[in-house]
Amino acid sequence: MFTPSHFTAVLLFALFASIVFGITQRSETRAMIRYGVFCFCLFVVGTIAASWIMWLIKH
């Protein structure tokens, strides 16, 4: 069984989802790469931000 840490799972999810988003949501190669990187950063930063918000709510 593959048991990644929470953060590794986020990185893997963000990587593959961003590749598909980049290819399907833009037409030009350069725009695809830029949008894919943007989505990846948004996934990762959004998850970290949500984690901190949950930590603050708990404490």
């Binding site: 069984m1 593959f2 048991t3 990644p4 929470h6 799972a9 893997l12 999810f13 990587l15 593959f16 989802a17 590749i19 598909v20 988003f21 290819i23 399907t24 037409s27």
Partner: protein, 144 residues
């Protein structure tokens, strides 16, 4: 006129568009794209995109199974979370059929990574739906 990189790119796009209008019917492209991740893009001549989509979606599906994620069976309740999960999983096309045939993903989710795995499986299916629709749009010329 000297051949520039931009000219070559424009000619390449024009050739692909021409090939697209003479290629497979749009319905076939949509169906193929759903059945096998990236096959729709391959049929419209975008093999790099096809390869990237295939690798991404199959990797996500495989990781979901490796994490002992659950494949949702068809639910008897039309409006239920299980039915939504089933619809998402169903987007994986042949991968879903293989999982149903070989009994993959029939686990009871007991650990948190297995729950992540279930989400990977559902999202892989949803991404494959997007990919198939994108191939259909390419075939119809709505997207370049």
């Amino acid at each position: 006129m000297p051949t520039t990189r931009a000219n070559v790119k424009v000619k390449g796009n024009a050739a692909r568009s021409k090939a697209g209008t003479q290629g497979f019917p749009a319905g076939i492209v949509l169906l193929a794209g759903w059945l096998v991740p990236g096959l729709g893009h391959l049929l419209v001549g975008r093999w790099v995109r096809a390869l990237l989509l295939f690798v991404s979606i199959v990797a996500m599906f495989s990781l979901g199974l490796a994490m002992h994620g659950r494949i949702y069976p068809p639910s008897s309740h039309l409006v239920s979370l299980d039915m939504l999960g089933f619809l998402g999983d169903w987007g994986n096309g042949v991968l879903y059929l293989l999982a149903a045939f070989f009994g993959w993903g029939q686990n009871i989710v007991q650990v948190v990574t297995a729950d992540y795995g279930s989400k990977f499986l559902v999202v892989a299916g949803l991404l494959n739906f997007i990919s198939a629709v994108d191939a259909h749009s390419l075939r119809l010329g709505r997207k370049s």
